[in-house]
């Protein structure tokens, strides 16, 4: 039987080795599950297959023949198609236009738009029971809800008649009926000989749909199993691993939660968030856990006044506050290390000096207007030394730094503001191991000084190591709270998975 084999995949992002010799083999006519915890390299592996990521090393063979995939075009050419969790539909175009997008040109000359529309109509007819009312070929995509968009994304790829199909979290925003229909269509495809790679955090779906499953962890293959010979516990055990026990919180005593919280949030509502309340006490690290994209980033930016949000009440050390923009939040003693360093954290073309100075520039300036060059240099140098940031010169562009050092620059600008509350959105993403440990030390230092910390992390090991308490989020709500000795890597993985299982059963 023909198969798509991808072996020896290495991929390094800056200082982080995302994949080290990972492999995956999908046969025609099978559904192959790809499992692993957050950050294990699943998505990177899928993107290598789709040509969206160029690996440092990889061998890809189709039907025993070597294959070169240097870009998405090559993948399309071999009819390897992908559906991602992030949507690629174009909001201003109609449903029909989106469904045929990119294939019009390839078929130009002999396929009239009319013939394509027949295919589109047939597809929409097929989806209509779960698509929701009033959605036709001419509906604009921008107004549709995420679940509908995800189904359309799937439909678009199916219309391209793939030979191999990658579904990366393609069911994440679907309801139960929608999942059922998608599964039925996947089974029809496999009956026709299509090979499918299926990624989902919902164990139930994996057990239901997949024939085999490959488990990867830290960029390495752990095992490939026949799904009918295994069960949920076994899969979770393989994903979590026996050895990956985190060091735990170490010797740090749990901070007192008797006194007044340094930050208190009640009834925060925002897009992607529903009625979130939490307290952070001085010296405490409150982790945000769960699957990624369940509202963690929105919660942090919402508190910080950086995105539209309404709260019943927000108090900083007992004083009611209302943050209409980050500026007012900063004035109240908050700091936010955002999730995307390059696009939200740094002025990449500007100097390291300016990047470190930016938050507190006005505080050091004469009369708040005129920059004292020496004071700026001293302030920046003090942080570069304290955080051991490896730089050439303060005047160098911040884009010359590695991921870990660039992230330290973001941290440095906030430390100068002497914050009372620090919000960290995945602060060690794309940071190498050494810098990671140093950033952990900085966070612990902050708590020792009585700063309250909220830490979102896509890395459950990181939460287990740092957090005193973890709030597990699912679809914008806090659904579980782990505390003290319960904050372990296993419990965090299990909490995230169990919740999604429950949801599938209920809905």
């Amino acid at each position: 039987m023909a198969s798509l084999d991808i072996t020896g995949v290495d991929k390094r992002y800056g200082g982080v080795q995302a994949l080290k010799g990972a492999s995956l083999s999908v046969a025609e006519g099978e559904v192959h599950g790809l499992l692993g915890p957050n950050g294990s390299g699943k998505s990177t592996l899928n993107k290598v297959m789709a040509g969206a990521v160029r690996p440092d090393a990889a061998t890809i063979r189709l039907d025993g023949q070597d294959l070169r995939i240097h870009g998405p075009q090559d993948a399309h050419h071999h009819r390897i198609e992908s559906v991602y969790q992030q949507l690629s539909l174009i909001p201003h175009l109609t449903v029909a236009e989106n469904l045929v997008l990119g294939t019009e040109a390839a078929r130009a000359g002999w396929l009239t738009p009319k013939a394509q529309l027949v295919e589109v109509d047939a597809m929409l007819e097929r989806l209509s029971p779960v698509l929701g009312g009033g959605i036709g070929p001419r509906t604009r995509v921008g107004s549709l809800n995420p679940g509908t968009k995800q189904l359309l994304e799937f439909a678009k790829v199916v219309l391209r008649r793939p030979r191999f199909l990658v579904l990366d979290e393609a069911t994440a925003s679907l309801h139960r009926d929608q999942v059922a229909l998608l599964f039925a269509m996947v089974r029809e495809l496999t009956a026709e000989g299509v090979g499918v790679v299926f990624v989902s955090h919902r164990m139930e779906e994996v057990l239901d749909l997949c024939d085999r499953a490959t488990i990867i962890r830290n960029g390495l293959n752990v095992a490939t199993v026949d799904v009918k010979d295994t069960d949920e516990q076994e899969l979770v055990r393989l994903m979590v691993g026996d050895l990956a026990r985190a060091a735990g919180r170490g010797e740090r005593p749990a901070p007192s939660r008797d006194g007044q919280p340094v930050l208190s949030v009640r009834g925060l509502q925002a897009e992607g968030l529903a009625d979130v309340s939490l307290d952070v006490h001085p010296g405490e690290i409150v982790g945000l856990g769960g699957l990624q994209g369940q509202g963690q980033s929105e919660l942090l930016t919402g508190i910080f006044g950086a995105s539209p949000a309404q709260a019943e009440r927000i108090e900083v050390a007992g004083d009611p506050v209302e943050f209409r923009n980050p500026r007012s939040a900063i004035a109240a003693g908050l700091a936010l290390v955002p999730g995307d360093r390059a696009s939200e954290g740094l002025y990449s073309v500007r100097s390291i000096q300016e990047n470190i100075s930016t938050v507190t520039l006005g505080r050091r300036a004469r009369a708040g207007l005129v920059i004292d060059a020496r004071a700026e240099k001293e302030a920046a140098t003090s942080q570069v030394d304290a955080l051991r940031i490896k730089i050439g010169a303060l005047a160098d562009a911040v884009s010359t730094l590695s991921g870990g050092n660039a992230q330290k620059v973001v941290v440095a600008k906030w430390l100068l503001s002497e914050p009372r509350i620090v919000l960290l959105d995945d602060p060690t993403k794309g940071v190498d191991v050494g810098a990671k440990a140093e950033i952990y030390a900085i966070i612990r230092d902050l708590t020792a000084q009585g700063v309250g910390v909220i830490l979102n992390s896509s890395d459950d090991v990181e939460l287990a190591e740092l957090a005193d308490r973890v709030l597990v989020l699912y679809e914008g709500r806090i659904v579980q709270e782990l505390e003290g000795t319960d904050v372990t890597h296993d419990n965090l993985v299990a909490a995230a998975l169990r919740i999604s299982d429950d949801d599938t059963k209920e809905s």
Binding site: F304, A306, N325, P326, R327, I330, A331, L336, P338, S343, E344, G345, L346, Y347, S348, V349, R350, E354, S357, T358, V359, L361, G362, A365, G368, L369, V370, I371, A373, S399, K413
Partner: protein, 329 residues
């Protein structure tokens, strides 16, 4: 071999950084134009000739101050209304001064205020209504043209104050007219403001990454609005000085300055996408453009070829900047 080279490496690198700096390239081009001019037409490079060209460049240079700040502030920033705004400034100034030194101060203050209002409207539209700068300032050009027409009734009246004309036309210290000294003071002041004031650093911050600037507590909208106010104010100032040069006004006095201000900024090495650059480069860019125009006129080149040559020189320079930027990263 490597051991022998390494001690010299730092200075070599420093030299290369200087030689590939757009400001250095633009300055070299300016000098080259004067030298070529001297060869083609002896006397082109004479002291009084060069001073005369610098005087002419000062109008463009001063109008391009605001354009520099607007482009630095990013967000596809551009001010296409500078030419028309400068014209309106000159018209208002001429009407108020009407050939009398006693109304000189008023004749400067009122047009500058008019400019501030135009810039404020531009800035508000761009920052709050999120109208693309290109569209907003192009629309504003029409509005300002209409206001100028209504204000003058189709025929511009008034004259420059003699003191203003003297500042522009009479040669002072070292045989250099006062307007050139005004420009030099502005070059120093604007460069200092951009490099040594909180507002200057914030303009660079906003220009290089608005999201990061906002998350760092930098008031993004306020900075964008201030950039457009500065643009219109300096446009009006340039228009007033141009009035000193021409003494009387006409309805399209400074209209043709809009695109040259943008060209001067880009020749000066300011990144079109914002966040990198400065005013010294723009000032040299204004010199390059003015020298080139003078040279082509001296050579009796027909209008069509002058335009083509200017365009080609601009494109060649941009090509060189693009190359060295790629090499740097």
């Amino acid at each position: 071999m490597t051991a022998m080279q390494s001690p010299a490496a730092p200075t070599a690198a420093r030299w290369r950084a200087i030689v590939t700096d757009p400001i250095f390239i633009a300055a070299a081009v300016a000098v080259a134009i004067v030298l070529v001019g001297q060869l083609v037409s002896p006397g082109f490079g004479a002291y009084s000739q060069v001073v005369g060209m610098v005087r002419v460049a000062s109008f463009l240079g001063i109008m391009a101050i605001g354009q520099t700040i607007v482009i630095l502030s990013g967000g596809d920033g551009i001010d296409l209304s500078v030419g028309k705004t400068a014209t309106l400034g000159a018209i208002v100034a001429a009407r108020i001064m009407d050939g009398s030194d006693s109304r000189l101060l008023l004749g400067i203050l009122v047009p500058v205020l008019v400019g501030a209002v135009i810039g404020l409207v531009n800035g508000l539209g761009i920052a709050y209504l999120r109208i693309p700068p290109f569209v907003m300032t192009l629309g504003m050009t029409g509005v300002v043209a209409g206001i100028a027409l209504a204000y003058t009734g189709g025929a511009a009246a008034g004259r420059s104050a003699p003191a203003l004309t003297g500042l522009v036309n009479n040669r002072g210290l070292f045989d250099v007219p006062g307007v050139v000294y005004v420009w030099i003071v502005l070059i120093v002041a604007v460069t200092w403001l951009l490099r040594r004031s909180v507002a200057g650093w914030n303009i660079y911050a906003v220009g290089s990454n608005r999201v990061a600037a906002n998350l760092s507590g930098v008031p993004v909208r306020r900075n964008v609005i201030m950039a457009y106010v500065a643009s219109s104010v300096f446009a009006c100032l340039g228009g007033i000085l141009l009035l000193g040069y021409t003494e009387s006004v006409f309805l399209n006095l400074a209209d043709s300055y809009t695109l040259p201000t943008v060209a001067a900024v880009i020749i000066g090495g300011t990144l079109a996408s914002g966040g990198v650059g400065g005013y010294l480069g723009t000032a040299i860019g204004a010199l390059v453009l003015t020298f080139l125009t003078s040279l082509l006129s001296t050579m009796n080149m027909p209008e069509s070829w002058r335009t083509i040559t200017s365009g080609v020189v601009l494109l060649v320079l941009l090509g060189m900047y693009g190359r060295q930027r790629k090499l740097r990263t």
